[in-house]
Each structure stands twice: as structure tokens, then as C-alpha cells.
Symmetry: C2
Subunit: 398 residues, 2 copies
């Protein structure tokens, strides 16, 4: 299919990712009213699928009518009141965004920093939590800006020991990385539809556990945003079915279908697929002589692979050539990494062996034209070996 005569893109940036044809078909279904019983069934099903994806039994599991950033803002303005203290882990662009939103909500922000490209130190977070009564600990699981995966399994306990709630940004991780909302005792968590879930951008899945719900119920002030007031939104999504705003029905058709595809594949297999393809890509990139941002595999995000831009290469020119010559989009750097890294997204439908080969091949081609010693064949051979080994292991196991 073509857009206005332009070539279809292979979307290997930080989102949106390419979506399955079934999702596009669902998106273009004839509309239903947002209070129609059939649509309400679709919302119910969407909530069930979201619970499976978030691995939670939280009743309050919905999708906000905005992009991932609306999900971030909604969680922060509902959980924080003016004067509340929040500890925010900042090791990338999206931690900084959380800080900005929390400040606008009138919260007292205690920042816990780590270098961009490193994970947060749980010890630092504990120290910050212990200093003073804190309402909320907020961290990013998958920093899209750096390709770093933050381990979360201990953080829920850490926060609760100090009487704080924990909020997790799973924008770049939900559906592509292990996320145990209930088991890890995460009180609230949000994501975006357009990354590892492979739905178009425009919805922000989110979940709040009963502890988070209680905190919202006990607020002293109204939430500053009416549009993102989760108590009002809850009345529409759950029993009351009270009109709040007109739900984006077409986008919700698409999200339900995208989530159904997650379940058809199986969440564990999907997470494995993301891990394997990102490993294969990193192997191939190493052969090409390209470096990542950090060296510790334990913290590699399986959905975003950062590449340091080699000395003397022009960020925009390389990305422009990939787009024009190969129809491929990859991302540039954000914030302090602008012009310093590229970001290759392997998310949802985009995380395939074919795309790993394609990006290695095309990147080698484009860099080669700019003077980089081309080793495309070697890189592809290493990647193929990697996949062959995986298949051998699987064959023996199966």
C-alpha cells in the first residue's frame, strides 16, 4: 500500500512501529458510538487484554485518550498533589520529562540521577526515599533515549518500605520486555500504544492498583487536569458508564486488535523474540565496528538499540539516506545525545529477523558510501550464525 504515491516505510525508529494489517483493518472499521453496548464490550475486552499484557489483576486498567506522554502526565497529576514529594530517577530524556511534569503539578521533586546510558542505582533511590516523607517514586523501565533497561524487581519493595508508591514508565517496554506489574508490586504503570504493542500512536494504556486508587480517592485537591482526571475516566470505563469525553473509538478498535495479537503470539514468546532480535542486531553492529552506548548486557533494552555515531559522520545525512534509498526510518538522539547516537527500534511487528538483516545491510551500505569500511557480509554472517544457534537450541529443546 502507498501513501500519496510515497513508498511505505520500514519503521525502525523509537516509534511508531509498523503495525499488523489486522490492526489497520480494525482501525478502519465503521464507527460505533462511544456509549454503544457493542463498543462497551470492546472496551471490556480491551481492559482484559491490557491486564494480561501488564500482568496485573488491577480493575483500573484502561487506555487514556492521548499519546504516551498523556499517560505520563495523567499518572503524575493524579498521584501527586501540590507539595507532595516525589523521587524521580533520571538517566535519560523521559526521566527529565517526568521531572518537568511533576514540577508543573506543584510537587517537590527529589532527583536521583545516573549517567545517560547507565541504570539507576537502587542504593541512591533508597537514600533519597529515606531523607523525607515521600509520596511517590517514579522511574522509567525502558529509557527510549538511551536503550537502557532498568531492573524493577526490587524497587516496589524499596518504595513501600518507605511508605511511598511506585510509578513506572513502560512506554518502550510494555509488550516487548518482562513487566510484572503485580509481582513486582508496581502501583501504577503507563505506556504508549505505538511501540512494542504495534498499534498506531494516540492511546496510553495504564494501570493503577488498589493502593494507587486509594491515594487518588484520598486526594485533598481536585486533579489539575479535568481531561486526565482518572476518577472521572474510571466512571466511564467501568460500572457507571458515565459520559466523560468522546472515546477515540477507532483507535480503541485498533488497540484491541493489537493486544489480541500479543496474546495470540504469547507474551513470553514475544518478549523472547524482542530479546533475540536485539541481541542479533547488536552482534551484527559489533562486526560492522559500530558501538553501543553502554557495555553491560544486563541493562540492554530489547526494544531500542543505540548506536554511537562514528566520528566524522553526519547524523541527519545518514538517516536521510536510509529513508530515501531504503525506505527505512531510524531515530536520532534526544537531549544531550542529540547528534551523538542513532536509535534503532525493534518493536512489536518491527522486531523481526528480516528487519535485523535489512538494517544491518542498509546501514553498512549507507555508511560505506560515506567511507566506512564496509563489512556487511561479515555482519550478516554473524547474525545468521546467531539465529542458527538459536534454532538449534530450540530444536533440541523442542
Amino acid at each position: 500500500m502507498q501513501i500519496e504515491g510515497k513508498k511505505e516505510r520500514i519503521l525502525l525508529g523509537p516509534g511508531p512501529s509498523n503495525v499488523h494489517s489486522r490492526v489497520l483493518r480494525a482501525l478502519s472499521s465503521p464507527l460505533l458510538g462511544h456509549l454503544d453496548p457493542d463498543f462497551i464490550n470492546i472496551m471490556q475486552e480491551t481492559m482484559s487484554f491490557l491486564r494480561l499484557t501488564f500482568k496485573t489483576s488491577n480493575p483500573l486498567t484502561i487506555a487514556f485518550s492521548g499519546t504516551g506522554s498523556a499517560g505520563m502526565e495523567s499518572c503524575l497529576v493524579n498521584l501527586l498533589e501540590p507539595g507532595d514529594r516525589v523521587v524521580i530517577g533520571i538517566n535519560g530524556f523521559f526521566g527529565e520529562r517526568m521531572r518537568e511534569m511533576a514540577l508543573r503539578a506543584g510537587a517537590e521533586v527529589r532527583e536521583v540521577a545516573a549517567p545517560w546510558g547507565s541504570p539507576l542505582d537502587p542504593g541512591d533511590l533508597t537514600t533519597a526515599l529515606r531523607e523525607k516523607k515521600t509520596k511517590l517514586l517514579a522511574v522509567v523501565q525502558g529509557e527510549t533515549s538511551t536503550g537502557i533497561l532498568q531492573p524493577l524487581d526490587e524497587l516496589g519493595r524499596l518504595a513501600h518500605e518507605q511508605g511511598a508508591l511506585i510509578l513506572v514508565d513502560a512506554a518502550a517496554s510494555l509488550g516487548g520486555c518482562l513487566l510484572e506489574t503485580d509481582f513486582w508490586e508496581l502501583d501504577a504503570c503507563y505506556s504508549g500504544s505505538q511501540k512494542a504493542l504495534s498499534c498506531p500512536p494516540g492511546l496510553a494504556p495504564a494501570t493503577f492498583n488498589p493502593r494507587a486508587e486509594e491515594a487518588i480517592r484520598n486526594r485533598r485537591h481536585k486533579v489539575q487536569s479535568w481531561y486526565l482526571d482518572v476518577s472521572l475516566i474510571q466512571d466511564y470505563w467501568t460500572s457507571g458508564r458515565l459520559y466523560h469525553h468522546t472515546a477515540p473509538v477507532s483507535m480503541l478498535f485498533a488497540l484491541r486488535e493489537a493486544l489480541r495479537l500479543v496474546q495470540e503470539e504469547g507474551l513470553e514468546k514475544r518478549i523472547q523474540r524482542h530479546r533475540e532480535n536485539s541481541q542479533a542486531l547488536r552482534c551484527g553492529l559489533a562486526v560492522l565496528g559500530l558501538k553501543g552506548l553502554s557495555r553491560d548486557e544486563a541493562f540492554f533494552l530489547p526494544t531500542i538499540v543505540p548506536i554511537r555515531i562514528p566520528e566524522g559522520f553526519d547524523d541527519g545525512e545518514v538517516r536521510g539516506r536510509l529513508r530515501k534509498d531504503w525506505g527505512i526510518e531510524i531515530g536520532g538522539g534526544l537531549g544531550e545525545l542529540r547528534g551523538k547516537i542513532w536509535r534503532v527500534g525493534l518493536m512489536g511487528e518491527g522486531s523481526t529477523r528480516k528487519n535485523v538483516r535489512t538494517i544491518l545491510h542498509s546501514l553498512a551500505d549507507v555508511l560505506g558510501k560515506c567511507g566506512w569500511p564496509e563489512k556487511a557480509e561479515d555482519a550478516l554472517a554473524v547474525t545468521d550464525d546467531f539465529y542458527r544457534d538459536l534454532d538449534d537450541v530450540a530444536a533440541k529443546a523442542g
Copy 2:
């Protein structure tokens, strides 16, 4: 086309309206990245189409990434700062919503009320504006909750004489009613994608003139919402192309196509179509013995026709039968009109002669089964006569 085996709906409620197949096709186009040059061209075209639809030359004419209510909140939180005085005209549900949002933004709200079903009195608005220095006058052009059209041609001047800006809610009017943003000196105006524009819900077109832009530039405080901060959004939509949030690309494909359809039809012809079809429906309803909310034709909204629920009839039962037996959605009442009126939307693609006949016929059928003296044939005959007269006049003129 069918949704999960369910019958396709004729959407004659207060939105969403049915959309053109070209809009559904655009919606399901393969995705582009939100910073892709081809997508940026699509945004530029969308802005141009929006300017034509709003009848404005305002550079800052965009679509917020949320539903109409996000547009309302965005305009209010950008134009108002804590302590600012705002005069809000309230003669329906959406005026009340504006008040709620303005209060959450910390504004001092001076309410100017009129009965639900009547327009606001310009004299009352002037009195309120004169009492005290006021930052903003906010009014609803088309009250979806009552089917009342507020004349606006004088209000811009009134506000400016008192040094206030004017903000207009055009959710139920843009694309279906005369709206002269520039000529009427409206400083800011917002709408929703899912009513007379016949695009799915999820976007909020909005425009700000240079005076409104200046007020935003001169703010003393940051906007409380980061997601809806129009200065940041402007940097993405216009020259800077700075990443703010991931634009809902699929929805913007759809909006562009819906706006293109508005231009292909011609805005004036489209407005005339909405006026004629709502008049025809009101004629037919009168023959059925059904009453509207008010009597003064000058204030009839051409997109929403309210019907008083006759004594002894059950709101939900009648709407349920229309849905089940006829596949038609109409709206119920909101706020103080809940259970007292039905609302028939004739918006965008839904404003057709065929739909006018269909709703008259089906409503007569459903009410007849509940004991209402059925006069469907008479009502249809009167409507047909109405259209025949229109065609005769058009034939003579043309």
C-alpha cells in the same frame, strides 16, 4: 462492512458521526514516522485545510492530540493563569464543563447564565465584562446538550472593548455552521474531529490568533499541563519541528482526508446542507407531534436537533429499540436534561436527506409501538415537500 458480526450503525447521536469511506481508507494507510518529511507535509496540508475550515489566517492552527475536551482544556489552561478572571457563558452542559476546567486552572470564574435551551444575552455578558478587569470571555457556539446556536458576530467586539480575549467552543459547529474566526475577531477557537467534520474522535482542531499567541507568550507561570502546552506543541507543528510527543499519525491522515472532503464539497454548500436537513427534520418532527426545546428558529443549531421526550415514554427503551431494530444511534440528554430530551445529530456525512427520512420513519415506528399516534407518512410527506421546494428554488436560481 461489519464489526465483529454486528450491524453497522447509522450514527445520529451527538458524535461520533459516520465517516466517509475515504476517511477510513486514509486512517488505515501504512504508518509514517511523526518526524518524517512526508508526514510533516501532511501536517502542513492539515493546517492549511484547518485554516480554510475555521476561516482564519492564523499561523497557529493545529490539532491537539486528544478529543474535543482536550481542546477545551488546552485553550483554557493556556489562556488562563491562576487568578485570571474569566467570564463564562453557561446555558448548557459544555458551558458548565468550561467552568469546571477554568476553576481547576485557578481562574476566577464569573458565570453568565441563561436557561438551557436559550442563547446567552449579550447584555449580560457585557455587564459581567465591565465589572472587573477580565482576561477572557468564553462561550459555546453550538451547545450540543441543547441544540442552541449562539450568535457570535458581536461578541468578539464586546470582549475586546473591555480588554478581554474571546474563546469559542466550536465542537458541534465547525464544518456545519457559519464560523467566521477572523471576521468575528475570535481570538481562540477549538473543536472536535468527530462531529460535523466526520473524522473519528481523537483530535481537537484549534486556532489561536496573534493576540492569543501574545497572551500565551506573556504568561507569568508555566502552563499547568505539559501535554497541552501550546507553545511546546507549536514548536513541533511549525518551524522548529522539535519532538514534543509522538503525533497520532493515523488520526491525522484521517483528519486531512476529512478536511479535504469539506473543501471538495465547499464550506458554504456544506453549511447550507446542514441547515436544510435540520430544518426538514424539525418540520417532520412537528408533524409527528414531537416538540423541540425552544421555539426561536434564529437559535436552532443545524447539527443537533433536540426532541422533548413525550410524557410516559422511556428514554432508554426508545433509544434501545432504535439501536436494535433499526441500527440507529441517537443521543440522550445531558445534565439537567437527562431523561428529558433525545438529541438527533445530523452532522457531517450524517446530515443527509436519506437520514432525515430514516430517523423520522424509525422514530415513528418505535414510538408507535409504544402507543404514540403514528403519523410517519404525513411527516415524510411534509419533509418531501420541504425538499421539493428547496429543489424548485435551486432550479430557478441555477
